[in-house]
């Protein structure tokens, strides 16, 4: 753009902040021998049966577009799956759209419901994309900070406090990334009361809904009165270890589904066909693999949470997802300093909590989607790191 001072970039794009995770990725990517607890995806490779189904679909020449909303057969299976696992019923023809990951589902949901100035309550700490997606859709993100004292669960009073005339929706993620906290049935009921009282929608990101370890999982739309007010977002990435396939789905009442489908058909056409065939196989025959992975995550969680507490990084026992979110208060460092020093000194990658929102400061996110051997090594190194810090303080 020689000879011109004009910028071709939109104001929105210019003002968009790069994700704080990016900086850490750059730091860690060049290093040798890093043990990473910084990864937000399963360590399992997609089950062979699922991969084989995708290969077979390619061999048979299923390489063209599907219906905008996705293969009807897949939507039918998703409908069965939601009924069985989450006790919610959605019509495959009118209420389910197959998307390119849960992220795209959140994007079309925001774009379908937000007018300029509409407010969406974002419960932090949370996944890094929620806030930018609200803003990109023209909405205003209103942040609420959950607290360590409440095991990072949102309290109804906190929501009441930020409610305005313009509040349109609440963005909810339970079990949560990065804290692993999960709202149980009673807590969801309390939330539902506020949603009804203020006539709101909830975009419920339930991508970790199957990865729960203690209490039974309750899906928000299964709470009386909530089905009509929920845009349920989920997908195959976490439960079925299929992150790279980019396949998610969104369930909502027909009116909202219709609006989202319009946006989806113009912006995306349809989700990748081979991924849809893989997902179909995952739903039909992937159950044993899922059960096995859940068992494995539970054991790793038990191990890492107790080990972190032992070395002075206190954390609550998270109910779901695959993250521990310990406090680093005892180190006397900020979460950025802690993560950076830990990486440089011991070669362990974790994500500083503040990238997930202000209230994440003072914490780090440790993903336990790693083999137990990797976790043992990480804990060994982190203990050495903590010991070195206390020596300095002494």
């Amino acid at each position: 753009m020689k000879g011109t001072k004009k910028t071709y970039l939109s104001k929105k794009a210019t003002e968009l902040k790069p994700s704080g995770i990016r900086r850490f990725f750059d730091l860690a990517a060049g290093m040798e021998g890093v043990v990473s607890l910084g990864v937000g995806e399963p360590d399992f490779v997609t089950a062979w049966g699922v991969r084989e189904a995708a290969i077979s679909s390619l061999e048979q020449g299923f390489t063209s577009y599907t219906a905008n909303a996705g293969l009807l057969e897949l939507r039918q299976e998703i409908s069965n799956y939601m009924k069985k696992q989450f006790k919610v019923e959605y019509s495959p023809k009118e209420e389910i759209i197959v998307t390119v990951g849960a992220s795209q589902a959140i994007d079309i949901a925001m774009r379908a419901i937000l007018d300029p100035g509409d407010e969406v309550i974002i419960i932090e700490p949370c996944f890094v994309s929620y806030l930018p997606m609200v803003e990109l859709a023209g909405g205003v993100a209103v942040q609420v900070q959950t607290l360590k004292e409440n095991d990072f669960k949102i309290l109804p009073s906190q929501l009441e406090a930020v409610m305005t005339e313009k509040t349109k929706a609440i963005m909810l993620c339970s079990p949560n990334n990065p804290t692993g906290s999960m709202l149980n049935k009673n807590e969801l009921k309390e939330l539902a009361e506020i949603v009804e009282k203020h006539d709101l929608l909830v975009i419920a990101d339930e991508i970790y809904g199957e990865l729960v370890y203690d209490e039974e999982y309750t899906s928000l739309p299964s709470i009386p009165g909530m089905r009509e007010r929920t845009i349920l977002v989920s997908g195959f990435s976490k439960t079925f270890a299929m992150t790279g396939w980019r396949l998610g789905f969104v369930c909502s009442p027909p009116e909202i589904s219709d609006a989202m489908l319009k946006i989806h058909q113009y912006a995306m056409m349809c989700a990748p066909t081979m991924s849809q065939y893989a997902a179909l196989e995952a739903l039909k025959n992937g159950r044993p693999d899922v059960e096995e992975m859940i068992k494995s995550y539970r054991r790793r969680r038990n191990y890492i949470v107790q080990s972190l507490n032992e070395i002075g990084l206190t954390c609550h026992m998270p109910g779901g997802a695959f993250y521990a979110f310990p406090s680093i208060e005892s180190s006397g460092l900020s979460s950025q300093e802690f993560a950076e020093q830990l990486l440089k000194q011991e070669g362990v990658a974790v994500v500083p909590g503040d990238v997930f929102g202000e209230s994440g400061e003072g914490h780090i996110r440790c993903s336990y989607a790693s083999s137990i051997e990797q976790l043992q090594e990480a804990i060994k190194r982190m203990k050495r790191f903590m010991d070195s810090l206390s020596l300095k303080i002494d």
Binding site: I21, G40, D43, V351
Partner: protein
């Protein structure tokens, strides 16, 4: 013996990794170290955990020349003792690694280990086929071992994920 949920967990974990330190095993199943030790001991006493062994890839060791063969054995079962007696007579040989009673075209599947093909052949012709009840044998030598008891021998364990992601 009926196992508790925790005991079942312990069995499942140890089956995959018997060398896990007791402290780590205890954490994984949310028991104290003492309780875990007690549970493991009970499993050992009751012969649910029979033994802890290593899976070794002998082919990686210089000078190793061992061979393995699977032998399909047809036998005449005896009145009163069925296949038990002949199975026992076969498995008592130290050369015999495993013996299974099979459905289908033959009766016993016998796995033999030896220093050389010749040694295995000698065993089959001199010891196995000469047994009274043995009607016929078919010997298959194993050329390569890709996966054994759920363990892949040359696994691609490389973590293909990017180091940090949201």
């Amino acid at each position: 013996m009926k196992l508790t949920e925790k005991e079942m967990e312990i069995v499942e974990i140890l089956e995959k990794n018997a060398r896990l330190p007791m402290e780590d095993l205890a954490k994984m199943v949310c028991l104290s170290v003492e309780e875990t030790e007690k549970a493991v001991h009970k499993l050992e006493e009751n012969k649910i955990i029979i033994r802890y062994i290593s899976i070794i890839d002998w082919t990686k060791i210089d000078g190793y020349s061992g061979v393995r063969a699977m032998i399909d054995v047809k036998v005449t079962p005896k009145r009163g003792v069925g296949f038990e007696e002949i199975a026992e007579r076969i498995y008592r040989f130290k050369e015999v690694n495993s013996v299974y009673l099979m459905s289908g075209a033959y009766d016993l599947s016998v796995i033999i280990e030896g220093e050389s093909m010749n040694e295995v052949a000698q065993f089959v012709s001199h010891k196995l086929s000469t047994l009274d009840s043995v009607v016929s044998t078919t010997t298959h030598f194993i050329l390569n071992k890709y996966k054994h008891d759920g363990i892949i021998f040359e696994p691609d364990n490389k973590d293909k994920r990017i180091v940090v992601s949201p």
